[in-house]
Protein backbone atom coordinates (compact mmCIF):
# COMPACT_ATOMS: atom_id res chain seq x y z
CA UNK A 1 0.00 0.00 0.00
CA UNK A 2 1.18 3.45 -0.86
CA UNK A 3 1.32 6.05 1.88
CA UNK A 4 0.99 9.70 0.99
CA UNK A 5 4.42 11.01 1.96
CA UNK A 6 4.42 13.87 4.42
CA UNK A 7 6.63 15.94 2.18
CA UNK A 8 4.31 15.71 -0.79
CA UNK A 9 1.28 16.39 1.39
CA UNK A 10 2.95 19.51 2.74
CA UNK A 11 3.79 20.59 -0.79
CA UNK A 12 0.20 20.13 -1.94
CA UNK A 13 -1.26 22.00 1.02
CA UNK A 14 1.30 24.78 0.63
CA UNK A 15 0.40 25.06 -3.05
CA UNK A 16 -3.28 25.31 -2.15
CA UNK A 17 -2.71 28.01 0.46
CA UNK A 18 -0.34 30.12 -1.62
CA UNK A 19 -2.59 29.63 -4.65
CA UNK A 20 -5.67 30.65 -2.70
CA UNK A 21 -3.88 33.81 -1.57
CA UNK A 22 -3.04 34.58 -5.20
CA UNK A 23 -6.65 34.03 -6.23
CA UNK A 24 -7.94 36.27 -3.44
CA UNK A 25 -5.41 38.92 -4.39
CA UNK A 26 -6.62 38.67 -7.98
CA UNK A 27 -10.23 39.23 -6.98
CA UNK A 28 -9.38 42.07 -4.61
CA UNK A 29 -7.43 44.02 -7.18
CA UNK A 30 -9.79 43.46 -10.07
CA UNK A 31 -12.38 46.07 -9.17
CA UNK A 32 -11.13 49.28 -10.66
CA UNK A 33 -13.20 52.42 -10.53
CA UNK A 34 -14.20 54.22 -13.72
CA UNK A 35 -11.64 56.97 -13.09
CA UNK A 36 -8.84 54.52 -12.46
CA UNK A 37 -9.50 52.74 -15.73
CA UNK A 38 -9.77 56.06 -17.56
CA UNK A 39 -6.40 57.20 -16.18
CA UNK A 40 -4.86 53.83 -17.00
CA UNK A 41 -6.08 53.99 -20.58
CA UNK A 42 -4.88 57.56 -20.97
CA UNK A 43 -1.45 56.53 -19.71
CA UNK A 44 -1.32 53.59 -22.07
CA UNK A 45 -2.37 55.86 -24.91
CA UNK A 46 0.41 58.33 -24.15
CA UNK A 47 2.93 55.48 -23.91
CA UNK A 48 1.99 54.16 -27.28
CA UNK A 49 1.56 57.64 -28.68
CA UNK A 50 -1.59 59.45 -29.77
CA UNK A 51 -4.59 57.34 -28.82
CA UNK A 52 -3.10 54.19 -30.29
CA UNK A 53 -3.91 52.08 -27.25
CA UNK A 54 -7.54 52.96 -27.46
CA UNK A 55 -7.65 52.12 -31.17
CA UNK A 56 -6.20 48.70 -30.61
CA UNK A 57 -8.53 47.98 -27.76
CA UNK A 58 -11.43 49.01 -29.94
CA UNK A 59 -10.32 46.98 -32.90
CA UNK A 60 -10.11 43.69 -31.09
CA UNK A 61 -12.39 43.42 -28.09
CA UNK A 62 -14.56 40.41 -27.53
CA UNK A 63 -17.07 40.87 -30.28
CA UNK A 64 -19.98 39.50 -28.29
CA UNK A 65 -20.29 42.32 -25.90
CA UNK A 66 -19.80 44.74 -28.71
CA UNK A 67 -22.56 43.55 -30.95
CA UNK A 68 -25.22 45.26 -28.95
CA UNK A 69 -23.11 48.37 -28.70
CA UNK A 70 -22.51 48.47 -32.42
CA UNK A 71 -26.21 48.17 -33.11
CA UNK A 72 -26.85 50.92 -30.64
CA UNK A 73 -24.23 53.18 -32.18
CA UNK A 74 -25.63 52.80 -35.66
CA UNK A 75 -29.13 53.65 -34.57
CA UNK A 76 -28.40 56.38 -32.11
CA UNK A 77 -25.54 58.43 -33.60
CA UNK A 78 -23.62 58.19 -30.35
CA UNK A 79 -21.14 60.97 -29.95
CA UNK A 80 -17.48 60.49 -29.11
CA UNK A 81 -17.91 61.10 -25.40
CA UNK A 82 -20.49 58.34 -25.18
CA UNK A 83 -18.20 56.06 -27.15
CA UNK A 84 -15.35 56.85 -24.78
CA UNK A 85 -17.48 56.05 -21.73
CA UNK A 86 -18.52 52.75 -23.26
CA UNK A 87 -14.96 51.85 -24.00
CA UNK A 88 -13.79 52.61 -20.49
CA UNK A 89 -16.66 50.60 -19.04
CA UNK A 90 -15.84 47.75 -21.37
CA UNK A 91 -12.22 47.67 -20.23
CA UNK A 92 -13.40 47.95 -16.63
CA UNK A 93 -15.48 44.81 -17.17
CA UNK A 94 -12.61 42.99 -18.79
CA UNK A 95 -10.36 43.73 -15.85
CA UNK A 96 -13.07 42.52 -13.47
CA UNK A 97 -13.44 39.34 -15.52
CA UNK A 98 -9.78 38.41 -15.28
CA UNK A 99 -9.68 36.65 -11.88
CA UNK A 100 -12.82 34.71 -12.76
CA UNK A 101 -11.32 33.55 -16.02
CA UNK A 102 -7.99 32.76 -14.37
CA UNK A 103 -9.68 30.49 -11.84
CA UNK A 104 -11.88 28.94 -14.47
CA UNK A 105 -9.01 28.16 -16.87
CA UNK A 106 -6.94 26.50 -14.15
CA UNK A 107 -9.93 24.57 -12.77
CA UNK A 108 -10.84 23.33 -16.23
CA UNK A 109 -7.27 22.40 -17.05
CA UNK A 110 -6.87 20.11 -14.04
CA UNK A 111 -10.35 18.69 -14.47
CA UNK A 112 -9.69 17.85 -18.11
CA UNK A 113 -6.54 15.95 -17.17
CA UNK A 114 -8.62 13.67 -14.95
CA UNK A 115 -11.34 13.25 -17.57
CA UNK A 116 -8.76 12.48 -20.26
CA UNK A 117 -7.28 9.79 -18.04
CA UNK A 118 -10.75 8.35 -17.44
CA UNK A 119 -11.25 8.01 -21.19
CA UNK A 120 -7.81 6.46 -21.59
CA UNK A 121 -8.56 4.03 -18.79
CA UNK A 122 -11.88 3.01 -20.36
CA UNK A 123 -10.15 2.47 -23.69
CA UNK A 124 -7.66 0.10 -22.06
CA UNK A 125 -10.57 -1.99 -20.79
CA UNK A 126 -12.64 -1.82 -23.94
CA UNK A 127 -9.61 -2.83 -26.02
CA UNK A 128 -8.58 -5.45 -23.42
CA UNK A 129 -5.10 -4.03 -23.61
CA UNK A 130 -2.36 -6.28 -22.31
CA UNK A 131 0.43 -3.76 -21.83
CA UNK A 132 -1.20 -1.31 -19.44
CA UNK A 133 -2.76 -3.10 -16.43
CA UNK A 134 0.29 -2.33 -14.28
CA UNK A 135 -0.63 1.34 -14.66
CA UNK A 136 -4.32 0.95 -13.80
CA UNK A 137 -3.99 1.98 -10.16
CA UNK A 138 -2.18 5.15 -11.17
CA UNK A 139 -4.98 5.92 -13.62
CA UNK A 140 -7.65 5.15 -11.02
CA UNK A 141 -5.91 7.53 -8.65
CA UNK A 142 -5.98 10.33 -11.19
CA UNK A 143 -9.62 9.75 -12.13
CA UNK A 144 -10.58 10.32 -8.49
CA UNK A 145 -10.30 13.99 -9.39
CA UNK A 146 -13.06 13.81 -12.06
CA UNK A 147 -15.95 14.30 -9.66
CA UNK A 148 -14.57 17.14 -7.49
CA UNK A 149 -12.87 18.75 -10.47
CA UNK A 150 -15.99 18.76 -12.63
CA UNK A 151 -18.17 20.04 -9.82
CA UNK A 152 -15.72 22.87 -9.20
CA UNK A 153 -15.73 23.86 -12.88
CA UNK A 154 -19.52 23.85 -12.99
CA UNK A 155 -19.70 25.73 -9.69
CA UNK A 156 -17.36 28.45 -10.95
CA UNK A 157 -19.39 28.76 -14.15
CA UNK A 158 -22.60 29.18 -12.19
CA UNK A 159 -21.00 31.45 -9.58
CA UNK A 160 -19.75 33.73 -12.33
CA UNK A 161 -23.40 34.50 -13.01
CA UNK A 162 -24.65 34.84 -9.45
CA UNK A 163 -21.59 36.26 -7.70
CA UNK A 164 -19.83 37.88 -10.62
CA UNK A 165 -21.44 39.85 -13.41
CA UNK A 166 -21.62 37.07 -15.99
CA UNK A 167 -17.87 37.35 -15.91
CA UNK A 168 -17.17 34.28 -18.01
CA UNK A 169 -20.30 33.58 -20.06
CA UNK A 170 -21.93 36.67 -21.57
CA UNK A 171 -24.98 34.68 -22.61
CA UNK A 172 -25.87 34.20 -18.94
CA UNK A 173 -27.00 37.82 -18.98
CA UNK A 174 -30.82 37.55 -19.20
CA UNK A 175 -31.05 40.93 -20.88
CA UNK A 176 -29.45 39.52 -24.00
CA UNK A 177 -32.61 37.59 -24.78
CA UNK A 178 -34.96 40.45 -23.95
CA UNK A 179 -35.92 42.34 -27.15
CA UNK A 180 -36.85 45.42 -25.12
CA UNK A 181 -33.44 45.74 -23.51
CA UNK A 182 -30.46 47.55 -24.99
CA UNK A 183 -28.28 44.45 -24.43
CA UNK A 184 -30.59 42.37 -26.66
CA UNK A 185 -28.61 40.09 -28.96
CA UNK A 186 -30.47 38.32 -31.71
CA UNK A 187 -28.00 35.46 -32.09
CA UNK A 188 -27.84 34.70 -28.38
CA UNK A 189 -31.63 34.94 -28.19
CA UNK A 190 -31.82 32.43 -31.03
CA UNK A 191 -29.66 29.98 -29.12
CA UNK A 192 -31.36 30.56 -25.79
CA UNK A 193 -33.41 27.36 -25.92
CA UNK A 194 -30.09 25.54 -25.50
CA UNK A 195 -27.97 28.18 -23.84
CA UNK A 196 -29.92 29.04 -20.73
CA UNK A 197 -28.79 28.73 -17.18
CA UNK A 198 -31.13 25.99 -15.82
CA UNK A 199 -30.56 23.73 -18.81
CA UNK A 200 -26.81 24.44 -18.65
CA UNK A 201 -26.73 23.29 -15.03
CA UNK A 202 -28.90 20.22 -15.68
CA UNK A 203 -26.74 19.18 -18.64
CA UNK A 204 -23.59 19.68 -16.59
CA UNK A 205 -24.95 17.55 -13.78
CA UNK A 206 -25.95 14.79 -16.23
CA UNK A 207 -22.44 14.72 -17.68
CA UNK A 208 -20.83 14.66 -14.26
CA UNK A 209 -23.19 11.96 -13.02
CA UNK A 210 -22.41 9.73 -16.01
CA UNK A 211 -18.65 10.10 -15.73
CA UNK A 212 -18.63 9.62 -11.97
CA UNK A 213 -20.87 6.56 -12.14
CA UNK A 214 -18.51 4.91 -14.60
CA UNK A 215 -15.50 5.84 -12.50
CA UNK A 216 -17.22 4.54 -9.35
CA UNK A 217 -18.11 1.16 -10.81
CA UNK A 218 -14.88 0.70 -12.75
CA UNK A 219 -12.93 1.26 -9.55
CA UNK A 220 -15.25 -1.03 -7.61
CA UNK A 221 -14.88 -3.87 -10.15
CA UNK A 222 -11.14 -3.35 -10.30
CA UNK A 223 -10.81 -3.80 -6.53
CA UNK A 224 -13.30 -6.67 -6.51
CA UNK A 225 -11.27 -8.41 -9.22
CA UNK A 226 -8.22 -8.24 -6.95
CA UNK A 227 -10.04 -10.05 -4.18
CA UNK A 228 -11.81 -12.55 -6.42
CA UNK A 229 -10.76 -16.12 -7.16
CA UNK A 230 -8.06 -16.57 -9.82
CA UNK A 231 -10.50 -18.26 -12.21
CA UNK A 232 -13.25 -15.74 -11.67
CA UNK A 233 -13.06 -13.00 -14.28
CA UNK A 234 -16.64 -11.81 -13.89
CA UNK A 235 -15.61 -8.42 -12.50
CA UNK A 236 -13.25 -7.87 -15.38
CA UNK A 237 -16.03 -8.72 -17.84
CA UNK A 238 -18.39 -6.31 -16.13
CA UNK A 239 -15.73 -3.62 -16.28
CA UNK A 240 -15.24 -4.35 -19.96
CA UNK A 241 -18.95 -3.91 -20.65
CA UNK A 242 -19.36 -0.67 -18.75
CA UNK A 243 -16.16 0.68 -20.35
CA UNK A 244 -17.63 0.15 -23.81
CA UNK A 245 -20.89 1.81 -22.76
CA UNK A 246 -19.07 4.66 -21.07
CA UNK A 247 -16.98 5.44 -24.13
CA UNK A 248 -20.14 6.00 -26.18
CA UNK A 249 -21.58 8.21 -23.46
CA UNK A 250 -18.25 9.97 -23.07
CA UNK A 251 -17.70 10.97 -26.67
CA UNK A 252 -21.13 12.62 -26.84
CA UNK A 253 -20.98 14.29 -23.46
CA UNK A 254 -17.37 15.37 -23.82
CA UNK A 255 -18.29 17.11 -27.04
CA UNK A 256 -21.33 18.79 -25.52
CA UNK A 257 -19.38 19.68 -22.41
CA UNK A 258 -16.81 21.46 -24.54
CA UNK A 259 -19.57 23.48 -26.26
CA UNK A 260 -21.10 24.35 -22.93
CA UNK A 261 -18.09 24.98 -20.78
CA UNK A 262 -15.73 26.44 -23.34
CA UNK A 263 -17.16 27.26 -26.75
CA UNK A 264 -20.12 29.18 -25.33
CA UNK A 265 -17.84 31.88 -23.95
CA UNK A 266 -18.00 33.11 -27.55
CA UNK A 267 -21.72 32.55 -28.06
CA UNK A 268 -21.71 33.86 -31.64
CA UNK A 269 -18.97 31.58 -32.79
CA UNK A 270 -19.08 27.86 -33.38
CA UNK A 271 -16.85 25.16 -34.73
CA UNK A 272 -18.06 21.67 -35.50
CA UNK A 273 -14.83 19.94 -34.54
CA UNK A 274 -14.43 21.81 -31.28
CA UNK A 275 -15.34 18.75 -29.20
CA UNK A 276 -12.64 16.70 -30.89
CA UNK A 277 -10.14 19.46 -30.45
CA UNK A 278 -10.77 19.70 -26.71
CA UNK A 279 -10.70 15.92 -26.54
CA UNK A 280 -7.23 15.80 -28.09
CA UNK A 281 -6.04 18.36 -25.59
CA UNK A 282 -7.42 16.50 -22.58
CA UNK A 283 -6.23 13.15 -23.87
CA UNK A 284 -2.62 14.19 -24.33
CA UNK A 285 -2.57 16.07 -21.01
CA UNK A 286 -4.04 13.04 -19.26
CA UNK A 287 -1.53 10.61 -20.74
CA UNK A 288 1.30 12.97 -19.86
CA UNK A 289 0.16 13.10 -16.25
CA UNK A 290 -0.06 9.29 -16.12
CA UNK A 291 3.55 9.18 -17.30
CA UNK A 292 4.69 11.82 -14.81
CA UNK A 293 3.00 10.23 -11.80
CA UNK A 294 4.19 6.78 -12.85
CA UNK A 295 7.75 8.04 -13.04
CA UNK A 296 7.41 9.79 -9.69
CA UNK A 297 6.18 6.61 -8.00
CA UNK A 298 8.76 4.51 -9.77
CA UNK A 299 11.53 6.80 -8.60
CA UNK A 300 10.34 5.98 -5.06
CA UNK A 301 10.59 2.24 -5.90
CA UNK A 302 6.84 1.82 -5.46
CA UNK A 303 6.20 0.47 -8.95
CA UNK A 304 8.85 -2.24 -9.43
CA UNK A 305 6.66 -3.94 -12.05
CA UNK A 306 6.69 -0.93 -14.38
CA UNK A 307 9.56 -1.19 -16.83
CA UNK A 308 11.06 0.93 -19.60
CA UNK A 309 8.67 -0.47 -22.16
CA UNK A 310 5.64 0.90 -20.32
CA UNK A 311 7.27 4.29 -20.22
CA UNK A 312 8.13 3.94 -23.88
CA UNK A 313 4.50 3.24 -24.75
CA UNK A 314 3.24 6.19 -22.72
CA UNK A 315 5.77 8.44 -24.42
CA UNK A 316 4.63 7.11 -27.78
CA UNK A 317 1.10 8.11 -26.88
CA UNK A 318 2.30 11.56 -25.81
CA UNK A 319 4.05 11.92 -29.14
CA UNK A 320 1.17 10.59 -31.22
CA UNK A 321 -1.61 12.52 -29.50
CA UNK A 322 0.44 15.73 -29.65
CA UNK A 323 0.46 15.31 -33.40
CA UNK A 324 -3.24 14.45 -33.37
CA UNK A 325 -3.91 17.65 -31.42
CA UNK A 326 -1.96 19.66 -33.99
CA UNK A 327 -3.89 18.03 -36.78
CA UNK A 328 -7.19 19.10 -35.25
CA UNK A 329 -5.91 22.54 -34.29
CA UNK A 330 -4.71 23.11 -37.80
CA UNK A 331 -7.83 21.65 -39.43
CA UNK A 332 -9.97 24.04 -37.44
CA UNK A 333 -7.70 26.96 -38.19
CA UNK A 334 -7.13 26.35 -41.87
CA UNK A 335 -10.77 25.90 -42.86
CA UNK A 336 -11.76 29.07 -41.04
CA UNK A 337 -8.77 31.00 -42.37
CA UNK A 338 -9.43 29.84 -45.92
CA UNK A 339 -13.17 30.46 -46.03
CA UNK A 340 -12.73 33.79 -44.23
CA UNK A 341 -16.39 34.08 -43.20
CA UNK A 342 -16.65 37.06 -40.83
CA UNK A 343 -18.66 35.33 -38.12
CA UNK A 344 -16.12 32.49 -37.97
CA UNK A 345 -12.84 34.22 -38.65
CA UNK A 346 -13.31 36.77 -35.88
CA UNK A 347 -12.24 34.03 -33.48
CA UNK A 348 -8.77 33.84 -34.99
CA UNK A 349 -8.52 37.55 -35.73
CA UNK A 350 -8.81 38.26 -32.00
CA UNK A 351 -6.19 35.68 -31.24
CA UNK A 352 -3.74 36.94 -33.82
CA UNK A 353 -4.26 40.55 -32.82
CA UNK A 354 -4.00 40.21 -29.04
CA UNK A 355 -2.68 36.73 -28.30
CA UNK A 356 0.07 36.25 -30.82
CA UNK A 357 2.66 34.97 -28.36
CA UNK A 358 0.50 32.43 -26.47
CA UNK A 359 -1.32 31.41 -29.63
CA UNK A 360 1.76 30.66 -31.70
CA UNK A 361 3.89 29.72 -28.69
CA UNK A 362 1.39 27.01 -27.88
CA UNK A 363 1.92 25.43 -31.30
CA UNK A 364 5.64 25.32 -30.66
CA UNK A 365 5.16 23.80 -27.20
CA UNK A 366 2.47 21.33 -28.17
CA UNK A 367 3.76 20.30 -31.57
CA UNK A 368 7.29 21.27 -32.55
CA UNK A 369 8.82 20.48 -29.18
CA UNK A 370 7.28 17.02 -28.61
CA UNK A 371 7.80 16.21 -32.29
CA UNK A 372 11.53 16.81 -32.16
CA UNK A 373 12.16 15.64 -28.59
CA UNK A 374 10.10 12.47 -28.58
CA UNK A 375 10.76 11.37 -32.15
CA UNK A 376 13.79 9.28 -31.32
CA UNK A 377 12.83 5.86 -30.03
CA UNK A 378 15.63 5.71 -27.45
CA UNK A 379 14.71 9.04 -25.87
CA UNK A 380 11.24 7.75 -25.04
CA UNK A 381 12.85 5.42 -22.51
CA UNK A 382 14.86 8.08 -20.68
CA UNK A 383 12.78 9.30 -17.71
CA UNK A 384 14.18 12.82 -17.43
CA UNK A 385 13.66 13.33 -21.13
CA UNK A 386 10.02 12.29 -20.91
CA UNK A 387 9.54 14.45 -17.80
CA UNK A 388 10.93 17.46 -19.62
CA UNK A 389 8.75 16.88 -22.66
CA UNK A 390 5.76 16.24 -20.38
CA UNK A 391 6.16 19.50 -18.50
CA UNK A 392 6.34 21.46 -21.73
CA UNK A 393 3.28 19.64 -23.08
CA UNK A 394 1.31 20.39 -19.91
CA UNK A 395 2.28 24.08 -20.00
CA UNK A 396 1.34 24.15 -23.66
CA UNK A 397 -2.08 22.70 -22.99
CA UNK A 398 -2.69 25.08 -20.13
CA UNK A 399 -2.03 27.87 -22.61
CA UNK A 400 -4.36 26.11 -25.04
CA UNK A 401 -7.22 26.38 -22.54
CA UNK A 402 -6.11 29.92 -21.74
CA UNK A 403 -6.43 30.80 -25.42
CA UNK A 404 -9.88 29.27 -25.59
CA UNK A 405 -11.32 31.28 -22.67
CA UNK A 406 -9.40 34.51 -22.22
CA UNK A 407 -9.95 36.32 -25.55
CA UNK A 408 -13.71 36.19 -24.99
CA UNK A 409 -13.64 37.36 -21.40
CA UNK A 410 -10.71 39.72 -20.90
CA UNK A 411 -9.82 40.64 -24.48
CA UNK A 412 -6.43 42.29 -24.69
CA UNK A 413 -6.28 42.73 -20.89
CA UNK A 414 -4.58 39.38 -20.41
CA UNK A 415 -1.43 38.54 -18.59
CA UNK A 416 -0.13 35.42 -16.89
CA UNK A 417 0.39 37.03 -13.52
CA UNK A 418 -0.54 36.47 -9.89
CA UNK A 419 -4.23 35.56 -10.45
CA UNK A 420 -3.38 32.98 -13.13
CA UNK A 421 -0.38 31.43 -11.40
CA UNK A 422 -2.22 31.49 -8.08
CA UNK A 423 -5.14 29.62 -9.63
CA UNK A 424 -2.78 27.06 -11.18
CA UNK A 425 -1.11 26.49 -7.81
CA UNK A 426 -4.45 26.22 -6.01
CA UNK A 427 -5.77 23.54 -8.36
CA UNK A 428 -2.40 21.80 -8.73
CA UNK A 429 -2.32 21.45 -4.95
CA UNK A 430 -5.87 20.17 -4.84
CA UNK A 431 -5.19 17.78 -7.72
CA UNK A 432 -2.08 16.35 -6.04
CA UNK A 433 -3.89 16.06 -2.74
CA UNK A 434 -6.90 14.19 -4.13
CA UNK A 435 -4.95 12.00 -6.55
CA UNK A 436 -2.34 10.85 -4.05
CA UNK A 437 -4.95 10.34 -1.36
CA UNK A 438 -6.82 8.08 -3.79
CA UNK A 439 -3.59 6.21 -4.53
CA UNK A 440 -3.27 5.23 -0.87
CA UNK A 441 -6.65 3.51 -0.90
CA UNK A 442 -5.61 0.39 -2.83
CA UNK A 443 -2.46 -1.60 -3.63
CA UNK A 444 -0.54 -0.09 -6.53
CA UNK A 445 -0.73 -3.30 -8.54
CA UNK A 446 -4.12 -4.43 -9.86
CA UNK A 447 -3.08 -8.01 -9.22
CA UNK A 448 -6.44 -9.57 -10.12
CA UNK A 449 -6.55 -8.26 -13.66
CA UNK A 450 -6.42 -11.22 -16.06
CA UNK A 451 -3.82 -9.42 -18.19
CA UNK A 452 -1.54 -8.53 -15.31
CA UNK A 453 1.06 -11.23 -16.13
CA UNK A 454 1.24 -10.11 -19.72
CA UNK A 455 1.59 -6.53 -18.59
CA UNK A 456 4.36 -7.33 -16.10
CA UNK A 457 6.32 -9.14 -18.79
CA UNK A 458 5.57 -6.55 -21.39
CA UNK A 459 8.62 -5.73 -23.35
CA UNK A 460 9.17 -4.28 -26.69
Amino acid sequence: MYTFSKKLKTVSIALMIIGALGVVYGFMTSHKSFDEVETMLAEEASHHGGGHGEDVAHAAPSHDEHTSEDAHTEGGHADTVDEHTKHVEHVQHQIANRPWSAVYVAAFFFFMIALGVLAFYAIQFAAQAGWSPVLFRVMEGITAYVLPGALIVLAIAVASHFLGHNSIFVWMNENMTNPEHQDYDKLVAGKSSFLNLPWFIIRGLIFIAGWSLYRHFARKFSIAQDNADVNDNSNFKKSFRIAAGFLVFYIYTESMMSWDWIMSVDPHWFSTLFGWYVFASMFVSGITVIALITMYLKSKDLLPFVNDSHLHDLAKFMFAISIFWTYLWFSQFMLIWYSNIPEEVTYFVTRFADYKLPFLGMVVMNFVFPLLVLMNSDYKRIPWFVVMAGIVILCGHYIDVFNMIMPATVGDRWFIGIPEIGAIMLFAGLFIFIVFTALTKAPLLAKGNPFIKESEHFHY
Binding site: F330, F333, M334, Y338, S339, N340, N376, S377, H459, Y460
Partner: protein, 178 residues
Amino acid sequence: MEASKVIHAIYTDDDVLMSAVKKVKSEKHHIEEIYTPFPVHGLDKAMGLEPTRIAIASFIYGCIGLTVAIVMMNFIMIEDWPQNIGGKPSFSYLENMPAFVPIMFELTVFFAAHLMVITFYLRSRMWPFKKAENPDPRTTDDHFLMEIAVHGNEQELESLLKETGAVEVNLVDKEEAH
Protein backbone atom coordinates in the same frame (compact mmCIF):
# COMPACT_ATOMS: atom_id res chain seq x y z
CA MET B 1 32.62 -21.07 -54.80
CA GLU B 2 33.11 -22.82 -51.54
CA ALA B 3 30.43 -24.96 -50.03
CA SER B 4 30.05 -24.61 -46.26
CA LYS B 5 27.84 -26.49 -43.91
CA VAL B 6 25.10 -24.85 -41.91
CA ILE B 7 22.54 -26.13 -39.48
CA HIS B 8 18.87 -25.29 -39.95
CA ALA B 9 16.88 -25.51 -36.74
CA ILE B 10 13.13 -25.20 -37.12
CA TYR B 11 10.79 -23.89 -34.44
CA THR B 12 7.04 -23.55 -34.38
CA ASP B 13 6.60 -20.82 -31.79
CA ASP B 14 8.08 -17.35 -31.54
CA ASP B 15 8.46 -17.45 -27.76
CA VAL B 16 10.36 -20.75 -27.98
CA LEU B 17 12.48 -19.22 -30.73
CA MET B 18 13.26 -16.20 -28.58
CA SER B 19 14.48 -18.26 -25.66
CA ALA B 20 16.41 -20.51 -28.05
CA VAL B 21 18.15 -17.49 -29.53
CA LYS B 22 19.16 -16.32 -26.07
CA LYS B 23 20.44 -19.81 -25.21
CA VAL B 24 22.43 -20.17 -28.41
CA LYS B 25 23.90 -16.71 -28.01
CA SER B 26 24.89 -17.41 -24.42
CA GLU B 27 26.76 -20.52 -25.64
CA LYS B 28 28.71 -18.19 -27.96
CA HIS B 29 27.54 -19.59 -31.27
CA HIS B 30 27.13 -17.28 -34.22
CA ILE B 31 23.61 -17.14 -35.65
CA GLU B 32 23.84 -16.44 -39.37
CA GLU B 33 20.22 -15.63 -40.03
CA ILE B 34 16.70 -16.24 -38.78
CA TYR B 35 13.71 -16.59 -41.09
CA THR B 36 10.30 -15.85 -39.60
CA PRO B 37 6.81 -15.58 -41.06
CA PHE B 38 6.22 -12.30 -39.23
CA PRO B 39 8.36 -9.74 -37.42
CA VAL B 40 9.23 -10.94 -33.91
CA HIS B 41 9.64 -8.06 -31.48
CA GLY B 42 12.99 -7.96 -29.76
CA LEU B 43 14.54 -10.62 -31.98
CA ASP B 44 17.09 -8.19 -33.39
CA LYS B 45 18.23 -7.28 -29.89
CA ALA B 46 18.40 -10.93 -28.80
CA MET B 47 20.48 -11.79 -31.88
CA GLY B 48 22.81 -8.91 -31.10
CA LEU B 49 22.23 -7.15 -34.41
CA GLU B 50 23.28 -3.55 -34.69
CA PRO B 51 20.43 -1.08 -34.25
CA THR B 52 18.84 -0.09 -37.52
CA ARG B 53 19.69 3.26 -39.00
CA ILE B 54 16.61 3.38 -41.23
CA ALA B 55 14.96 5.82 -38.82
CA ILE B 56 17.72 8.36 -39.38
CA ALA B 57 17.45 7.86 -43.12
CA SER B 58 13.69 8.31 -42.87
CA PHE B 59 14.08 11.58 -40.96
CA ILE B 60 16.46 12.91 -43.60
CA TYR B 61 14.11 11.86 -46.41
CA GLY B 62 11.24 13.60 -44.62
CA CYS B 63 13.27 16.79 -44.39
CA ILE B 64 14.06 16.55 -48.10
CA GLY B 65 10.36 16.10 -48.86
CA LEU B 66 9.46 19.11 -46.72
CA THR B 67 12.06 21.24 -48.50
CA VAL B 68 10.89 20.08 -51.92
CA ALA B 69 7.30 21.00 -51.02
CA ILE B 70 8.28 24.46 -49.79
CA VAL B 71 10.44 25.26 -52.80
CA MET B 72 7.91 23.78 -55.22
CA MET B 73 4.91 25.67 -53.84
CA ASN B 74 6.91 28.87 -53.68
CA PHE B 75 7.83 28.53 -57.32
CA ILE B 76 4.41 27.39 -58.57
CA MET B 77 2.06 29.54 -56.52
CA ILE B 78 4.10 32.63 -55.67
CA GLU B 79 6.85 33.25 -58.21
CA ASP B 80 5.85 31.68 -61.47
CA TRP B 81 2.11 32.21 -61.65
CA PRO B 82 0.49 33.83 -58.61
CA GLN B 83 -3.18 32.99 -58.52
CA ASN B 84 -5.89 34.66 -56.53
CA ILE B 85 -7.70 31.84 -54.79
CA GLY B 86 -10.43 33.00 -52.45
CA GLY B 87 -8.70 36.34 -51.99
CA LYS B 88 -5.75 34.77 -50.24
CA PRO B 89 -2.44 36.64 -50.36
CA SER B 90 -0.75 35.38 -53.48
CA PHE B 91 2.48 37.38 -53.48
CA SER B 92 3.82 36.34 -50.11
CA TYR B 93 4.81 32.80 -49.29
CA LEU B 94 4.63 33.32 -45.55
CA GLU B 95 1.16 34.83 -45.55
CA ASN B 96 -0.17 32.11 -47.81
CA MET B 97 1.63 29.36 -45.91
CA PRO B 98 -1.41 27.75 -44.21
CA ALA B 99 -2.73 26.81 -47.66
CA PHE B 100 0.48 24.90 -48.37
CA VAL B 101 0.66 22.96 -45.13
CA PRO B 102 -1.28 19.94 -46.47
CA ILE B 103 1.13 19.75 -49.42
CA MET B 104 4.12 20.07 -47.12
CA PHE B 105 2.75 17.28 -44.96
CA GLU B 106 1.94 14.99 -47.88
CA LEU B 107 5.30 15.38 -49.58
CA THR B 108 7.14 14.83 -46.30
CA VAL B 109 5.30 11.55 -45.83
CA PHE B 110 5.63 10.62 -49.49
CA PHE B 111 9.38 11.13 -49.58
CA ALA B 112 9.99 9.48 -46.23
CA ALA B 113 7.88 6.42 -47.07
CA HIS B 114 8.99 5.77 -50.64
CA LEU B 115 12.66 6.50 -50.20
CA MET B 116 12.69 4.42 -47.04
CA VAL B 117 11.26 1.40 -48.89
CA ILE B 118 13.73 1.86 -51.72
CA THR B 119 16.60 2.16 -49.24
CA PHE B 120 15.45 -0.97 -47.51
CA TYR B 121 15.38 -2.90 -50.79
CA LEU B 122 18.82 -1.68 -51.82
CA ARG B 123 20.27 -2.41 -48.41
CA SER B 124 18.78 -5.92 -48.34
CA ARG B 125 19.89 -6.55 -51.94
CA MET B 126 16.38 -7.19 -53.18
CA TRP B 127 15.06 -6.45 -56.61
CA PRO B 128 12.26 -7.77 -58.83
CA PHE B 129 12.67 -11.33 -60.16
CA LYS B 130 15.46 -12.06 -57.72
CA LYS B 131 15.57 -15.70 -56.69
CA ALA B 132 14.33 -16.10 -53.14
CA GLU B 133 17.01 -16.81 -50.57
CA ASN B 134 14.51 -18.42 -48.27
CA PRO B 135 15.84 -21.92 -47.48
CA ASP B 136 12.50 -23.39 -46.44
CA PRO B 137 9.11 -22.24 -47.73
CA ARG B 138 7.48 -23.18 -44.43
CA THR B 139 8.99 -20.07 -42.89
CA THR B 140 6.50 -18.06 -44.92
CA ASP B 141 3.67 -19.91 -43.22
CA ASP B 142 4.01 -20.95 -39.59
CA HIS B 143 7.61 -22.07 -38.98
CA PHE B 144 10.69 -20.25 -37.74
CA LEU B 145 14.15 -21.19 -39.01
CA MET B 146 17.45 -20.48 -37.36
CA GLU B 147 20.58 -20.83 -39.43
CA ILE B 148 23.90 -21.47 -37.66
CA ALA B 149 27.29 -21.92 -39.28
CA VAL B 150 29.02 -25.20 -38.51
CA HIS B 151 32.71 -25.39 -37.80
CA GLY B 152 33.09 -29.07 -37.07
CA ASN B 153 30.83 -28.98 -34.04
CA GLU B 154 27.65 -30.50 -35.49
CA GLN B 155 27.09 -32.91 -32.61
CA GLU B 156 27.30 -30.27 -29.93
CA LEU B 157 25.11 -27.84 -31.84
CA GLU B 158 22.52 -30.45 -32.71
CA SER B 159 22.00 -31.50 -29.10
CA LEU B 160 21.94 -27.89 -27.95
CA LEU B 161 19.28 -26.98 -30.51
CA LYS B 162 17.16 -30.03 -29.72
CA GLU B 163 17.34 -29.00 -26.10
CA THR B 164 16.03 -25.49 -26.89
CA GLY B 165 12.86 -26.92 -28.40
CA ALA B 166 13.67 -27.17 -32.11
CA VAL B 167 11.21 -29.52 -33.83
CA GLU B 168 13.67 -30.32 -36.61
CA VAL B 169 17.43 -29.94 -36.96
CA ASN B 170 18.98 -30.37 -40.42
CA LEU B 171 22.56 -30.21 -41.54
CA VAL B 172 22.71 -28.72 -45.04
CA ASP B 173 25.32 -27.64 -47.54
CA LYS B 174 25.10 -23.99 -48.27
CA GLU B 175 26.48 -22.52 -51.44
CA GLU B 176 28.17 -19.21 -50.93
CA ALA B 177 26.13 -17.34 -53.44
CA HIS B 178 26.93 -13.93 -52.12
